[in-house]
């Protein structure tokens, strides 16, 4: 159990900067997810913490100890790899016991820990098998078991679910969350899957091009994205963006997106005032675009004409792929909607939940 601190960490591979001045303070017992598109530096950040990569500058602390120049084996961490990285010539039992044997843990203690971990993970009956004889899901459990028996201060997960099929992934996701609850240890988890990040994390760090974009709780990340990248990355289908201009008319602020315009509600207008007359980016999530017949009561809505290019019925909802002018966007509407391909319809945008971003800096205006 320990906190983890990235203190101005930079990692360069030759001329390429993989991580640029990363600062994250991870609290003890926290479940932190590092998320971002491939090549954003999230895995590198994790590997730096594990000691598998040397950092170019800055410091990494585990607890209050500076581990920047400490060998992986002395960092008191355990890691679950994407490929699981099980030792193919060893049985499941020996795979799990390997780290403890190297640490000269007494045999009886090794046996107790391995059996207990195996029991917890439901792999007790597999202890005599070789990794080759296991299914993907079972291998994944062994990899987690190998980390658990070490009882480390920090658990590191590098995309541990990406080799599982969709159903098993959802199931294992929940199990890892439960494991975190039970072990009460710091978990640091890397994924490119924003759904994994949203469902498991106590906090999420979004990275892009080696730079930390936002570090916040899943809900805040979703509701109050700090910039256009985070707004577009978190949420599926992704947030719709419209190039627009913030105009002042009749004492009210109006977002003019060219083919349509929406009036800013009084309660949101405050922070937007200084930006009046400037170009902005209007962001609105698909679930905030409704079929007017079924839009929830009591919201400020703006009606926009649109043509339906495509529909996808999901059962509990319908995705509409819409065009207004030459702008394509997505709506997630009530399944009773009568919208059909090729029809011109009216959609209701919930302006209470709209986001405005500065056109130049792409930062949220708040």
């Amino acid at each position: 159990m320990a906190s983890v601190t990235y203190d101005h960490v930079t990692k360069k591979f030759g001329e390429t900067t993989a991580i640029n001045d990363l600062n994250i303070a991870i609290e003890d017992k926290e479940f932190l997810v590092l998320v971002g598109p491939s090549g954003c530096g999230k895995s590198t950040a994790l590997r730096c913490l594990a000691g598998l990569e040397e950092i170019t500058s800055g410091r990494i602390l585990i607890g209050s100890r500076d581990v920047s120049n400490v060998a992986p084996k002395d960092r008191d961490i355990a890691m679950v790899f994407q490929s699981y990285a099980l030792y193919p010539h060893m049985s499941v039992y020996d795979n799990m016991a390997f780290g403890l044997k190297l640490r000269k843990t007494p045999k009886s203690e090794i046996d107790r820990r391995v059996k207990q971990a195996a029991e917890t993970l439901g792999i007790g009956h597999l202890l005599g098998r070789k990794p080759k004889q296991l299914s993907g899901g079972q291998r994944q459990r062994v990899a987690v078991g190998r980390a658990i028996v070490r009882e480390p201060a920090v658990f590191l997960f590098d995309e541990p679910l990406s080799n599982l099929d969709a159903k098993l992934r959802v199931q294992t996701r929940a199990e890892i969350s439960k494991l975190h609850q039970r072990l009460q240890t710091t978990f640091i988890y890397v994924t490119h899957d924003q759904v994994e990040a949203m469902t498991m994390a106590s906090r999420i760090a979004v990275l892009k091009d080696g730079v930390l974009q936002q570090l916040d709780s899943p809900q805040n990340l979703y509701d109050l994205p700090t910039n256009v990248f985070v707004a577009g990355f978190i949420g599926s289908p992704a947030m719709n963006f419209f190039d627009a201009r913030l105009n002042r008319g009749n004492g009210k602020l109006v977002v003019d997106a060219g083919t349509f315009s929406v009036t800013v509600p009084e309660n949101k207008a405050g922070p937007y005032q200084p930006h009046a007359g400037q170009n902005v980016i209007l962001g609105i999530r698909p679930e905030d675009i409704h079929d007017p017949n079924y839009s929830p009561p009591g919201i400020h809505q703006a009606l926009v004409s649109a043509r339906v290019e495509m529909t996808e019925l999901m059962g509990n909802e319908v995705f509409l792929y819409l065009t207004t002018g030459d702008k394509n966007y997505t709506a997630r509407v009530d399944p009773r909607s009568q919208a059909r391909i090729g029809r011109d319809i009216q959609v209701a945008m919930n302006v209470d939940n709209m986001q405005l971003f500065d056109k130049g800096t792409e930062l949220a205006i708040r």
Partner: protein, 327 residues
Amino acid sequence: MALVQPPEPIHLSARLPARAEPEQVPAVMRQKPLTPWLYLLPALIVMTVFIVYPGLSTAYLSLRDKSGGAWAGTRCVAGQPCWGLFENYRYALTSPIMRQSFINNLTWILVMVTGTVVLGLLIATLADRVRYEALAKAIIFLPMAISFVGAGVIWRFVYEYRATGEQIGLLNAVVVALGGQPVAWMTVPFVNTLAIILVGIWIWTGFCMTVLAAALKGVPGEILEAARVDGATEWQLFAGIIVPMILPTITVVITTMIINVLKVFDLVYVMTGGNFGTEVIANRMYTEQYTNFDTGRAAAIAVVLIIVIVPAMVFNIRRFREQEAIR
């Protein structure tokens, strides 16, 4: 070990004919009983002419006398030990020179196989961690490109000793530079065998290194990283993870080298001609046949050599098949 389980027998004979009626197959496609033999014929001819006949002939000659004119028993000398029909084998198995050869071949196996495999593994592991890996490996592999006779000649210069005049041997140059007296390396028993084995190691290390390096590349990086995080030192990583993981390849390299070393001939022939206590089985066979013109003894030695090699060969082929099956 069968990877593919034989299918369960299906008992449908009540409803289906056991096999297709011959009439249903067009005449051109009908296979006569001789047809499979036709396909096998070219291989059978080659095998018979170049393997089976010489093999049987050798076995036969090993039971005949010096020129093959009479049975070996006629060579027996009254009052001396005699194995009758197997008189040539008495020579091949009990004569002092052949005993010397067996001991030398054993020395060759122990020193050269250990030397090449250990050095090959060491160099492969170390080269894996440097930037100029390709260059280092190319240099180590280079001697493989030289013929054994060529290598023997080169190294004879290194070990050269002259009773009179200027010493031109590299090794003696070093010894003299260090204040010692020049030594006739190729005439000192056991030292000369070790000196020739060193040449063998120089040649064959590249082969072992290349095969082992390929196996090393097959060890996934994440497994090594997992072991490092698990707490392994680099040595524990090597002994506990890398070596067990490439053990099948190491075994194949060892048996291949044993076979190579058992057959060793050229180096000994070129460097000492088997004199001064450096005799080996293959060179003795050559000497009996082409110097002493004793076909019987040469053939008996050949048979003994084959019998010694076969177990290593069988083991190697089995291992190879197992490896193929895993793939």
